[in-house]
Structure formats: C-alpha cells, structure tokens
Point group: C2
Chain length 209, copies 2
DNA sequence: TAATTAACGTACCAGATAGTTAGTTACGTT
DNA sequence: AACGTAACTAACTATCTGGTACGTTAATTA
C-alpha cells in the first residue's frame, strides 16, 4: 500500500495509523490484531508505527485514548437544562442509546479492554479516572427531579448511569451471542424503537415510583 | 507437569484439558491463549490436546459448549411456580444476578465470543439455537402476573430477559473499565445488596406501572 | 497369553510475528 | 545553497506458536 513520493506530514501519518489501528484492534482484539496487517492497510510502512508509537501496546493505548476522547466530545454537547426532569432523563438515556449504536467499534474496544482487566487504561494517565461529563448532567437532573417532587430521593447518579450503560452496551456488545441463541437481532429496526422506549420507561418508572 | 506412570483414563484426561483450557481462554481470550501454556498447566502433554480436540479452535468450541452446559443445568432447577408473580420475578432476577457473579469465567467467555461475532457458537450444532430454560419460566411468570392484573400487558419475555441479562452481565463484564474511570468497584460488598435490590425494583416498577 | 488398539510421550518443524538495523529523502532554517 | 533534522523506507531477524512425525506403553480382547 505504501506510496513513494508522498509529502511528509507527521500529523497525518500519526492520524492514519491510529485510524487503521482502531479498526484492526476493534475487529480482532489486542492479541488477535497484527501489526503487519495494520501496516498493510496504511499508506505508510510498519516502521512508522514503531517510529511514532514505540510498540504494539503503546499503539493500542493511544487508540483507546483517541476513542474515549471522541465520546467525551459528544457528551460535552449535552444540554437538557431547559427540559423538565423526566424529559431530560429520557433524552439523556436516548442519547446514550443512539451514541452506542452508532459507535460499535468503541464498544468493542471497551469489551476488549475489560478482557484485559483495564490494565492499559490503568497505565494511561490520560484515561485513568477520566470523569464522564454526562455524569454531572445526570446528577443535576436527579436533583431537579427530586426538588420538584417527581423523582424518588436517595438515588445515586452513578447507579442510574450504570443501568443506562448496561442496557445500551449490552445491546451492542452481546448482540452476536444473543442472536445465535435467541434468534433475535437486537439491532434490527423492528426492535430499535421498542428498546429505546423500554429503556426510558425502565428508568423513569423506577425514578418516579 | 506431565507425570509418567499414571493410569490411563480418556474421560479424565479430556475433562482436565477442558478445565485448564477454560481458565486459559477466559483469562487471555482466544488469540491470547497459548496451547503450550494450557499444556504446561495440565498433568498430560500438548499432544493430548491435538489427540482429543484436533486443533486450538475445536478445543475452544468445546470449552464454550461445556460452559453453556453448566449454566443450563443451574437454570433447570429454577422453581418459582409457588410464588406470586412479583416475588417470582424478583427471585428470577436475583438468581441471574447471583449466578453471573459466581461465574465470571463464563461471562468472560461470552464477551470473548462476542468479539469473535459468535462465529464459534454458530459453528457448534450443540450451542446454536440452544434455548434458555429460564426464558420459559419468565414467560410463565409474566402470564400469571398479567392474568392477576398486577403486571402490564404486551410485555415480551425476551425483552425482560434482555434487561436482566444486561444489568447482570454489565456488572461483571465491564467492572474493570468502570472501576478505572469511575473509581467504583461494582463487585464490592458495599454495593452488592443495593444493586441486587435495584435490579428487582427496576424490573418490577416497570412491570407493575 | 498373544494380538490389537486406545492412550500417551518426546522431539521437532515451518510459518508467523513483533520488533530492529541501517540507511535514504524531504524540508525548514540560516 | 548547504546543512541538520524529522520523516520515511526496505530488508532483516530472533523468537514464538500451532501443529506434527514417530515411537512407546497400558489395557482390552480373542
């Protein structure tokens, strides 16, 4: 794939390596990904991977960092302060729902990283302890709902985040074994709207009980 | 590790290979697992793996089949027909909660299999389409609850199974990245009882709305 | 008890794979 | 325009890894 005579551009080369490596790692896992395969899919050579990233593991860490940065950027835009608590909560849940559905590679990287017991995230100063901006928004919605007397009190924001994440991550991360065993594709359009509503109902029925 | 002069027992040898391989695959993933490493942890030799299983992939498939068989066996024992629908549903959810917590290797194998898009389950005649016995129990509880007028109607049993699985699987499968980012161990005793109750409340508040 | 076979062990190999050595070239600086 | 350095390439290697060739021994059977 490597083309001679191309202009030199460190940023572009780095970015291309990250992009190709993201697909490869998300596709095959850390151990299953092949450095040679990543190189073959780039317009530069394998040596450049080692030039910029040093080794396979560091490349993987930077792939993870890049993926998490993308998510954070989207969450930053969330603005539900103008909605009443119930609508705000539903919208937050649906944003997570939509986001995870449209970023399966990110979900796969997270699954892969959990197989490795998050050892790479732990080693990354950028990622470890990186707060989720959506969590502050969630806490604020819960406070407003409780003050308005519509939400139950004593609810931990992180627990609600966990419930929403669990549902949205499961749909994507476990869709293959789920389909193989139950013969239902959780991502088919037939179920998408039902699941989206189910998630919102689940969270709101709990909070407003 | 291989000991000379041991008695010959095909079943025992096969069982030991499956047992050691289960740990290795669950620990390192399919590509990360090493046949030599599995052999080193056995009381027999690598040759026996190929003698009984042919190749690494077939060994992995039989590890998966064995793991799923264990789960099925536990679910078979479920008997909640004597409980009222709400209690029955809560008990079913808590059984899944407890089960997944005490079988992390199974959850890891499922995650790993999803990274591989369930291609091995698909290839296994034993596993593909293997119905979950708990699903029939769940459908029966929903019917009884609806007939008694306490549960909402139009609820798909598989959707409820999905919600329960999502919550219980997430706690185990994603605990490492969750802890790295939010500094909370979902498996710590501090949260265990809260989460167990949260799951039951979540499902029942939804069904009884 | 001799023959047969299933169960097992030792030693090895070919290809794959992460990482490296040694150099070359574009490009901004002065 | 010459110089220094960052960006880049091609070819190579040490090691790892799934898999195998070949021989041996315990148990079963006739």
């Amino acid at each position: 794939m490597a083309q001679p005579d191309r202009t030199r551009d460190a940023e572009r080369t780095r970015a291309e390596i990250i992009q190709v490596a993201t697909r490869e790692f998300a596709d095959k896992g850390y151990a299953g990904a092949r450095v040679d395969e990543i190189a073959a899919k780039m317009s530069t050579t394998k040596r450049m991977i080692y030039y910029y990233f040093g080794n396979k593991e560091q490349l993987y860490v930077e792939v993870l960092e890049h993926a998490y940065a993308g998510i954070r950027a989207i969450e930053q835009e969330l603005d539900v302060e103008h909605l009443d608590p119930a609508d705000a909560m539903r919208q937050l849940a649906e944003l997570t729902f939509d986001h995870h559905e449209s970023h399966p590679d990110f979900i796969r990287l997270v699954s892969i990283e959990n197989i490795h017991r998050a050892e790479h995230i732990g080693r990354s100063t950028v990622l470890s302890g990186l707060a989720n901006p959506a969590l502050d928004v969630l806490a604020r919605i819960l406070d407003r709902g409780r003050e308005a007397g519509v939400f139950r009190s004593g609810v931990d924001p992180l627990d609600i985040h966990m419930v929403i994440s669990a549902f949205c991550v499961f749909r994507i991360a476990n869709r293959h074994t789920f389909k193989a065993i139950f013969k239902r594709d959780m991502l088919s359009p037939d179920h998408r709207e039902d699941h989206r509503r189910l998630l919102g109902d689940l969270v709101l029925d709990y909070l407003t009980r």
